[in-house]
């Protein structure tokens, strides 16, 4: 029972190889659909997937084999997308294409907003609901240090019992900002079961705008302009950074929904304003509700472009191919990663991650596909975030 991988440079030669193989009785080849989010090609009743610059025949076995192994790298600690190379660039426009069947983009939105509030950064939130302020109650609190420790190795605890207990008391009084090598660490784990501390969302700390009030987008434009004018860009002053979070921007219940060019103008203007200020704008939108052409225009405007997709429940084929399938909520794909002041594109080691809830409370992103194999060597299994010298840690 052996596994076979066939690598060719063209479909034509692949078909001819397969033609030969079919006539060999000893080889038992059956195919199965692997991961739906890969681009896939069907020839007859066989399925092939394209990865990087190699073509893979999909055969039914537990791992997609190349000249290496398909390994799941160690879990990433924080859902702050360190995988993008250190966080979101200040001055960038991050856009997320929603899946209308599942609200997973909300997890990312909530984390983004909570992160800002925990670090005392001003936040502007806009959504197509009558009372956007009500959403703030669903923002998660940071995972308390002692809980984080319990997720880490048990061995540590046993050996350093007394010391750890002592540390526990000290750490509970620490503010949530960790210091690592003198650099302030801005990434936190969040506990999705606990709501954020009330004092962080009290009063006017978060400015809320309802998109339902805007028939002409003038209202949201003004709010954003005023918000950003308080955050001008001086080189390197991160503590004063702001966050704009806009949810489901082209939702059909908004009056401006059919005004495609107005929406485009808004996105273009907010992109330029954010570019010259100390802020990050995070905008989610149901891409399938826009025409292909308009959706492409939005995608071109984004500095960082992500998409979320739901994973179907009870999909037996996926369950056999992906470890930890039962815990997966959905898939996160990275289409574009912001690169400022450089013309070199970002080619990430992995572009698709699974979103999982660990212990039902913290969001974990795990790499799924194999790194693109470069000409010189074997596979580079791990998923290390590319170091990005220009990025500001956010």
């Amino acid at each position: 029972n052996s596994t076979v991988a066939i690598i060719t440079r063209s479909l034509h030669s692949l078909c001819s190889i397969l033609g030969e193989l079919k006539f060999r009785p000893k080889l038992n080849i059956s195919t199965s659909m692997v991961l739906k989010y890969y681009s896939m090609v069907e020839i007859g009743d066989q399925k092939y997937t394209l990865l990087g610059d190699k073509l893979w025949l999909l055969l039914k076995f537990e791992r997609v084999v190349s000249h290496g192994k398909f390994r799941l790298p160690p879990r990433l600690r924080s859902p702050d997308l360190k995988i993008l190379g250190g966080g979101f660039h200040l001055g960038s426009l991050v856009m997320i294409m929603e899946d209308t069947e599942a609200p997973h983009h909300m997890l990312l939105l909530r984390t983004f907003m909570s992160q800002g509030l925990v670090h005392n950064q001003p936040v502007l939130y806009a959504s197509p609901s009558k009372n956007p302020r009500a959403f703030l109650g669903t923002l998660p609190a940071t995972l308390v240090s002692k809980d984080v420790k319990s997720i880490k190795s048990e061995a540590e605890q046993k050996d350093l019992r007394i010391a750890w207990q002592y540390k526990k008391y000290l750490e509970e009084n620490k503010p949530p900002i960790d210091e690592r090598d003198g650099k302030v660490e801005y990434c936190n784990d969040f506990d999705l079961r606990k709501p954020i501390e009330k004092h962080l969302i009290a009063g006017n700390r978060v400015e809320c705008v309802s998109l339902l009030d805007c028939s002409s987008l003038a209202g949201i434009r003004d709010s954003c302009s005023k918000f950003l004018s308080q955050l001008p860009r001086y080189d390197g002053n991160i503590t004063n950074a702001g966050r704009i979070a806009i949810q489901s921007f082209c939702a059909p219940q908004c009056e401006y929904y059919d005004k495609e060019w107005d929406m485009l103008s808004f996105i273009r203007s907010i992109k330029s304003k954010v570019r010259s200020s100390n802020a990050v704008a995070f905008l989610t939108f149901p891409a399938s509700l826009l025409s292909t052409s308009v959706s492409k225009r939005w995608q071109h405007l984004a500095d960082t472009l992500l998409s979320v997709k739901a994973i179907p429940d009870e999909d037996k084929e996926l369950a056999t191919l992906l470890t930890g399938y039962q815990d997966m909520l959905g898939l996160l794909s990275i289409h574009k990663a912001a690169r400022f002041n450089t013309q070199v594109p970002v080619i990430l080691d992995a572009t698709t991650y699974s979103m999982k809830l660990q212990k039902r409370r913290s969001l974990v992103l795990e790499c799924l596909n194999q790194a693109p194999v470069d000409g010189s060597g074997g596979s580079s299994g791990g998923c290390s975030s590319s170091s990005n010298t220009g990025a500001l840690d956010f």
């Binding site: 681009s39 610059d53 190699k54 073509l55 485009l264 330029s272 010259s276 071109h300 002041n341 594109p345």
Partner: protein
């Protein structure tokens, strides 16, 4: 030019000094979300600014001056200095938004400014106009493709009147469906050279960022015949330059 020319330069026949009709060409760069064509623009800015006979007029809808300045600096070209020497004229159009009834007026005003700048400078120098990018010009014009096409036709007249070279970027994947496809078709018709960036059929890879297809409609040669050519090769973008190579020729 004493620098070694890249494959791209050879193909664009910008090195060819025998052909005096090199002036007045319209170059269209088409790209998509997966592969941005901006690097072609950066290459051409550097190329044109490296000759003291050229002046570059840059109409920016996409990025501010600092963005181009920092990128070109890594490629060995100081845009800030060129701007001060009046060899680079930078029109920052990031915030240009024509009101619904004022689209035509807005574009006429923009054309007027371009015309003036070209007229003043073209007596003793070659002017190159770069527009980044026309898909955003459409947004600024509130979706009025007709007005944008008229604007481009007017700019095209500058190639014959003053011998300008015009270079512009278009996001081809926006127009893949239906009636919208007429816009890129019209632009391709106007263009003398079309440079298209696409990902490889097999997707993104770390050592090949994409492929370039260059269609050069050709000029009337000495014998009176048109010499059209198509070139296709691959590229990898680096900080300070871009590697161009034919498939399989890279070690």
């Amino acid at each position: 030019m004493n620098r070694p020319a890249t494959l791209l330069d050879d193909v664009l026949t910008l090195n060819d000094d025998d052909e005096p009709t090199q002036k007045g060409r319209l170059i269209l760069v088409e790209d998509c979300v997966e592969t941005s064509g901006a690097f072609v623009l950066h290459h051409l800015i550097k190329r044109f600014l490296s000759s003291s006979d050229n002046i570059v007029l840059f109409v920016a809808f996409s990025h501010p001056f600092s963005h181009y300045d920092r990128i070109l600096r890594k490629m060995g070209c100081n845009l800030a200095a060129q701007r001060e020497n009046k060899r680079l004229l930078f029109f920052d159009m990031l915030m240009l938004e024509c009101p619904d009834d004022g689209v035509e007026g807005g574009l006429i005003a923009l054309y007027g400014n371009i015309y003036k700048a070209v007229e003043v400078n073209s007596s003793n120098k070659n002017v190159t106009i770069m527009i980044d990018d026309i898909s955003l010009l459409e947004v600024a014009a509130n979706g009025s493709t007709k007005d944008v096409l008229n604007f481009m036709h007017y700019c095209h007249t500058l190639t014959t009147q003053f011998g300008c070279t015009i270079i512009t970027v278009l996001h081809e994947d926006i127009y893949s469906s239906g009636d919208e496809f007429t816009f890129p078709l019209q632009m391709e018709y106007l263009a003398d050279i079309t440079i298209k960036t696409e990902p490889l059929i097999t997707g993104l890879a770390a050592d090949v960022h994409g492929q370039l297809t260059i269609l050069d409609k050709g000029t009337i040669g000495r014998s009176g015949s048109m010499k059209g050519k198509i070139h296709n090769f691959r590229y990898k973008i680096k900080e300070n330059n871009v590697d161009y190579f034919y498939p399989g020729s890279r070690a």
